[in-house]
C-alpha cells in the first residue's frame, strides 16, 4: 500500500450527500479482473454525456462540461470534498481504486459509509471526517478561490484550509500507523498465526460442527 503522510493539493468540490459507490464507479466497469485502470471511468454517469462501456476510447467520449472533474483546475485535484455519508451502498473496492487511479489521495466529508471507509484505508486513500461547518467552510473557500490548495496532514491529524485555518480530525491509531507506514496487513496478521491456530483448536473442542 502507498503510504500517506502529507498531501497538499487542489480540492474538487462535489456538492452532494449520499454519494454511492454505484455513482463512483458504475457496474459495467466492475467486470475488470484488475485493480488498475478505473480512473477514466470514475463518476462515469456524471462525467460523460454518452453512455460508457468497458473498452471505449476515452478521448472519443463526450465529457459533461458541468461536472466538476471536467473543469480546470479540478481535473488536477488530489483531494475530493463532499457531503455526508460518502461512499454508501455497494462494498465494491473498485470505487476506491477509481478515485486513487484518478489521482485522489484524500476525501474530506462530514461522514463516510463504513465499508468505503475501511476500503479507503487499505489503499492509501485517506478518508478525513470534518464537522459539517468545517466542510461548509472548505466549500465556501474553494468556491471563492478555485484551485486554492488544501493540506491534509496525517502525522499531525490536521487539514489546513486555503485561509490557513487549521481543522483537526481523528483516525484510530491502528489505521493511522498502517497508513503512515504503508504496511501490508496480511504480513502483519500472519505474525499471529499461532494465535489463529490456537483459536481453531479451541473452536474444534467447543463448537466442532463449525469446522467444515
Amino acid at each position: 500500500m502507498q503510504a500517506f503522510t502529507v498531501e497538499k493539493g487542489i480540492v474538487a468540490p462535489l456538492d452532494r450527500s449520499n454519494v454511492d459507490t454505484d455513482a463512483i464507479i458504475p457496474k459495467q466497469y466492475l467486470k475488470s479482473v484488475k485493480r488498475t485502470g478505473f480512473g477514466p471511468n470514475a463518476f462515469d454517469d456524471w462525467r460523460y454525456l454518452d453512455p460508457g462501456e468497458p473498452g471505449m476510447d476515452g478521448s472519443k467520449r463526450r465529457p459533461n462540461p458541468d461536472f466538476v472533474l471536467n473543469q480546470a483546475p479540478f481535473d488536477e485535484a488530489t483531494i475530493l470534498l463532499a457531503r455526508k455519508n460518502f461512499g454508501c451502498g455497494s462494498s465494491r473496492e473498485h470505487a476506491v481504486w477509481a478515485l486513487t487511479d484518478f489521482g485522489f489521495r484524500a476525501v474530506i466529508a462530514p461522514s463516510f459509509a463504513d465499508i468505503f471507509f475501511s476500503n479507503s484505508c487499505k489503499n492509501g486513500l485517506l478518508p478525513v471526517v470534518l464537522a459539517e461547518d468545517e466542510v461548509q467552510s472548505l466549500f465556501d473557500q474553494v468556491e471563492a478561490n478555485p484551485g486554492a490548495q488544501v493540506e491534509v496532514n496525517l502525522e499531525a491529524l490536521t487539514v489546513t484550509a486555503p485561509d490557513a485555518t487549521v481543522f483537526r480530525f481523528t483516525l484510530d491509531e491502528d489505521r493511522r500507523h498502517r497508513l503512515l507506514n504503508g504496511l501490508d496487513d496480511i504480513a502483519l496478521t500472519l505474525q499471529f498465526a499461532e494465535d489463529i491456530r490456537a483459536y481453531e483448536e479451541r473452536q474444534r473442542q467447543e463448537r466442532p460442527w463449525m469446522a467444515s
Binding site: R16, S17, N18, D20, D22, A23, P26, K27, Q28, L30, K31, S32, V33, K34, R35, D45, P51, P54, G55, R83, K84, N85, C88, G89, S90, S91, R92, E93, H94, V96, S111, A113, D114, I115, S118, N119, K122, N123, D172, E173, D174, D185, I186, T189, L190, F192, A193, D195, I196, Y199, E200, Q203, R207, P208, W209, M210, A211, S212
Partner: protein, 470 residues
Amino acid sequence: MAGKTLYDKLWEAHVVREEPDGSTLLYIDRHLVHEVTSPQAFEGLRLAGRKPWRGDSVLAVPDHNVPTENRDQGIADPVSRIQVETLEANVTSLGLKFFPMADVRQGIVHVIGPEQGATLPGMTVVCGDSHTSTHGALGALAFGIGTSEVEHVLATQCLWQKKTKAMQVRVEGELRPGVTAKDVVLAIIGRIGTAGGTGYAIEFAGSAIRSLSVEGRMSVCNMSIEAGARAGMVAVDEETIEYVRGKPQAPTGEMFERAAEYWRRLVSDPDAEFDAVVELDAAAIAPQVSWGTSPEMVAPIDGRVPDPAAESDPVRAEGMQRALEYMGLKPNTPMTEIRPDKVFIGSCTNSRIEDLRAAAEVVKGRKKADNITLAMVVPGSGLVKQQAEQEGLDRIFLDAGFEWREPGCSMCLAMNADRLEPGERCASTSNRNFEGRQGQGGRTHLVSPSLAAAAAVAGHFIEPSALKEA
C-alpha cells in the same frame, strides 16, 4: 453488570486476539465468494505466494454476471465471460467449493448460503458484497467486506475489526394483512435514514420481527446496509433451528442437537443494553414504495410523492429535488398513479420461494398490463427455481405474460444483459434505487414481491387487495 447483546455474544466467540486499542483479530467461519470482488484478491494471494488458510471455509459461485436466459449458449459478453472464467480458474486451482453456472445449486450467493446450510447460526460470515448482512437472519454475525479484506480472509481466516456500537430496532405488534418483511425494512430505513445505522450492528427484534419467517428475516437483514449498518441480525429461535435442520451442510444427528443447544443461547439477554434503540409500531406500517434515488426515500402506497418545498433542511430539499428530476416525478403525485414500464421480481432481497409464492398469489389468473413491456421473475437459485416449478408457480407467471428466468443477480444491478433503458421506470423487489443502478438513466421503485406483482397486473402501483377480482 448488564447482560450481553446477541452481537456481544457473536463477537466474543470469535476473538482471536485483542490489542490494547480495541483492534481485534476476528476469526471468520464462512467466506462466500463471487466473481466480481474476488479476482484481484486471488491475484494478490498468488503474487505474494500465499495459499488459503482454510479452503473449506469458502463457498464460491458466479451470480452477478450470469445470463438469465439461453444459458446453453454461455455468456455472450466477453468481459463478463472472462470474469466468470477467472473465478472458476481461481477456485478450481485451489480446490475450493464451487457451484458453476450449470449446477442446479448455483444462485445468488446470499440465497445459496442459507439454502445449503453453509451459513449457520453463531457463525461469522463474510463476502465481498455489502448484502452479506442477509445471513444475520440466522443469528450470525455477517457483513460485507472489500476486496483487500477478501484477500486478507483468504490468507489468514481473520479480519482486523473494531467492535461497533449495537442498535436494537424493535418492531412490536401485529403487521397489517398484506404488509411484508420488505415493507418493514423499507419503513425502518425511511425512519432512521441511509446513514442511521452507520457505525452500528443492528439487531432486529420485537414481536413483528419474530412473527416473520426465517426467509422474511433475511429480507430485513439484507437491507441493513441500506440503513448504513454493515451487519444486521435476528436472535435464534425455534424457527431458525427448524430452518437449518436438514440443510446439506448443516450438522446432523447428535451433532445437530449439540449445535442447537448452543444456538438457542444466541439471543440478547433481557437486561442487555444497546447503544441505541429504535421502536416502530408494526400496525402503523403500510406497504412501501420508494419514490427517489436513495432507499430512505419511501412513501406508503396510499401516500404521495413528497414536495421538496415543504422540506426545511436546504441540503435535504436539494437532494429531494435532484431525485425527483432524475425520477421524472412531480411533487404530490399519488403513489398509485405512478406507472412502471418494467417489473423485476428477484435479487438477494426477494427471490426466495416465499417471495415467489407471494408474487404468484397476486398474479394467479390475471394478466400483465399492456403498458408493462417486461415483467420478469428471476429465482434466487436453481433450487428455488426447481421448487417453484414443482409448485406450478412458473405456469402462473408465464400464463400472465411474465418471463421466467434462470437464477442470478440480474436486473438488481444490471451487470448482465438484464437492464433498464434510459428513462424506463421499474417496480423492483431489489434493494437499491440509486441513479443508474438498474441501467444508466433507469428509474427504480423499490417494493415487495406482492406489490411488484400487483403493479405488473394493474400497470400502476396498487395494493394487491385493491385489484379487481381475478
